[in-house]
Amino acid sequence: MYSQITAWHDAAVNIPVVDPSPTSGVLSLAWLVIALPLAGAVILLLGGRYADKWGHLLGTALPIGSFVVSLLMFVSLLGRDANDRQVTQHLWQWFDVGRLHVGFDLLYDPLSALFLLLITGVGSLIHVYSIGYMEHDPRRRRFFGYLNLFVAAMLLLVLSENYLGLFLGWEGVGLASYLLIGFWQHKPSAAAAAKKAFVINRVGDIGMSLAIALMFVTFGTTSFTGVSHLAAGASDNTLNALGLLLLLAACGKSAQVPLQSWLLDAMEGPTPVSALIHAATMVTAGVYLIVRSNFIFELAPKAQTVVVIVAVVTLLWGAIIGCAKDDIKKALAGSTMSQIGYMMLGAGLGVGGYAFAIFHLLTHGFFKANMFLGAGSVMHGMNDEVDMRRYGAVRHAMPITFLTFAMGYLAIIGFPGFSGFWSKDKIIEVALADNWVVGLFALLGAGITGFYMTRLMLMTFFTEKRWKEDVHPHESPAVMTVPLIVLAALSVLGGVMLAGNWIQDFLAPVTGVAPHENPPLPAIVVTLLAVLVVAVGVATAWFLVGKREVSVTAPQDVSFATTAARNDLYGDAINDALVVRPGKSLIRTLLSIDRYGVDGVTTGGPIALGALAGQLRRVQNGFVRSYALSLLGGVLLVVLALLVVNVG
């Protein structure tokens, strides 16, 4: 079907196309990876109170089962030849409408393999942790049902072989995040945050659905195989439009500027939800989408440039917000936004960056899950206090939490040898090689990361204690600390994936092989530079926070920059001014048109009609003589109508 175009295309550009073979052996279990958590969601949500006793155990066991299957598939994939690592599984024909034929197909390749491991692995740990964290919540079963739904949707997103299936998972993730962010729906702030996340995600979804429609119009198919084969034949404008639409979609899910504002509010959800959204699912979806659509972005340089710009703005935006937040979860959320910016930057840099974007995504998944769960553990021990100004010297009370959190901290700032060091360093390196301005911004971001993470670390675990009187911090139970320990270990060791360029080679069938270029600076210089910048950031934090006394309440006489950062750089204000207020006035206009125009016609119409009928019915007076007269009039009418038309 695609052979002719392929031949021409291969000669022109070297972009790998999706060309899978049917599944066999263990790989045929791909469907099971999705089915297990989905079954969990169905059982837990439909089971009602009967499932209360064992619901959380089942809800945890099923993602673990998914993880085991993913691991088996991964091993099996490694056993295959590098050219034979794309397999597809046709489950059933989803629908046929006109020229549109969509199968419910799964695609398992190195990219989805890594995502599967991340989602099910980190996801399972979060499930285990949640058993302890949500122990006293009366709606724990439902919580696990939503978690399972979340994981299932995300798995579908990364396993689907076409954009439509991806979209199904995409929407599923949106739904599950809505349910989870608003899980404590009795809090108006949580309900509002859920609504906000949902609405802003819808904006991204518009991009996604338009992109799918455009693909169908252009290529007549939405499958990765079909689009990747045919992409080279489309016009530049179409490809750039596709790229920008996909970017819009990615911005929504991955909280990139300008659709970033939901992420900070999303902290209203229970902390494991934050960990799940930030580390294993949801926000990584946008990065996945762009890396997966590399066959479009490679042919759409303009869209790619926009990706880089968005990424740089976001990575600084998030970092600056992170500097000023006193709420530990919001500070972490800012850091997530910033780190996702790094991933998007890697993805926007093209063939050279895809693998590192995914690499950073994985290591970030480890250390961010680690730190979120760590933050949850701190909150758990401090009566759900989230204000860091009320923490201080927690390390003595929670040694395990402290140690594991410290591993995450060292990883995120890029302390040499830790996982984050390797992954972030690589992205900065590629960015510098691509464009030195972008590279410098990325370096700057790393420095700010060093600052705000050190600030967070100091305010929480060091400095003197500023607890409220009735707070008695204590270490969390083993069911919570064991996942922390596992994640801490992964945060430290995640860099192993780079050994021998393994991750680049492994992902090469999907992302392509970067042409070798001579970097402007030797790699070792870049590394040293990065470490230096981070060290400056850490030192600044030490002098500004560690050496001073932290006040219990946030000081108000601060610089404009701090105020702006505390207000999320006025993201909400911008949204209000640009979208919400014009939208509201539009709605008001429509409403008045509806009230006075449409309603006027629908209510005024019958009144006028009644009046007309009241006049007309006088003719119907019951006298035969009048009827006969009207009959005679009718005769005249008919005859005249005939004569006028024909003789006149």
Partner: protein, 530 residues
Amino acid sequence: MNEFVKPTIEYAELWPILVVFGVACLGVVLEAFLPRGRRYLAQSTLAVVGLAVALGGTIYVALDLHKLGGGVARGLIAAEGTIVVDGPTVYLWGLILVFAIGGVLLFAERRLEGGLSAFAGQAAALPGTEAERQASTQGLDHTEVYPLLMFAVGGMMLFPAANDLLTMFVALEVLSLPLYLLSGLARRRRLLSQEAALKYFLLGAFSSGFFLYGVALVYGFAGSMQFSDINEAVRNDAANQSLLLIGMGMLAVGLLFKVGAAPFQAWTPDVYQGAPTAVTAFMAACTKIAAFGALLRLFYVAFGSDRWSWQPMLWVIAILTMLLGAVLAVVQTDVKRMLAYSSVAHTGFLLTGVLGVQSAAQLTNGQITSMQSVLFYLTTYGFAMVGGFAVVTLVRDSGGEATSFARWAGLGKRSPLVAGVFAFFLLSMAGIPLTAGFVGKWAVFTVALAAGAWPVVIVAIVSSIIAVYFYVRLILLMFFTDGEGEVASVTTPSLLTSATIAVGVVATLVLGVVPGPVLDLAGRAGEFIR
């Protein structure tokens, strides 16, 4: 010298109509010789059996029709050129017979009036006199209604099959006279009923006069009564154009009166309201079917080659009819009158269908002809009308049938099933999707659009919207208000009425959900033979 030649009668094709007339005559004989007590059972059974046999015969003739001639116009001209048996004829016969059976079943219903039929005990007795009271206490019953109905049905079958003006006129009178009588036979509210009958008779006679005058004028123009000869004359002869046009107009008046088109609709509400409801049901469905068949034949066959001279006139009439019917229905406060105006509006919609493309040869694939759409519309309309009026017979208070809106308030709460069924018929008349009425409207509107009659279609859509208002208003009244004062309740009928209503509901639903087979059947009826 003219020798007498024995006329040939094609009994094989004409026997359904002869059965009906035969049964009618037999009914008169039975009426004369049977003792009073046995007449009801004998007459009603005879009528049902006669109609059923005729229906079977119609189907038999229809199945054999393809042997008679090829092409889209199949059939033959029988009885020395006076009667045509072709596809549309047998389809219309079938429809008329089906709804006539429904009518007979409603006629025969005796449970609603406590063991008596809905017809007067002794029609000749003056209302309010001793004689009337006696007739009523003795439990008298007019069983002549069955032969009368059979004569009317025979006339209706002959009407669309007539191939010359004189036969058409005779058919018109044969179908009308029994209906005038039947309208005056109501057991309750006899004065209203008799007034309705008299009005119907006077106005009917008036319009028949015009029809007959038209016959004379057209004969003067063409020198023949036969449709094919008239068509030939229209095609060839440009002289005496005004003779033809005036004659055509007079003929149109006679037919438009029968279908109840504006401005000849004045009799409809009064007669529909005054006549016994069973008669109204029968008359509303069958008369309209027969008259539309005759209208189509007259204008398509006799004046078919002169389409452009009569189509503007029908445009005007269609627009007037739809608007008048819909607008006046809005202010009605009586269910039967509202249904009468709704029937006027339906006439307008049907006329819209008549304006479409006539010949299948002018159509692209997938389009439908005017004939097909009108036949289909008549089918959907008939089921909804017979069913709707049948429901009206059930809703009663101490004074018999309660037709005032005030009595229907809250009916949905008291009798959800009956009110729901009636609401379903109303929705079909309004043309809501998933009911037969929607498909019917869709069919007539598309054929009119295909023929370029878009102004008529726009008016038709506006009228449909107005119509939705008054149908839904009644539904609201039934389901969302509470009745005040004396309200009507539902009397449980015998199987006869229940069966009629059930068939109406099922047909309306089936035709709305899977219209394909019947639409195809109407399409296979083909065209008139000339």
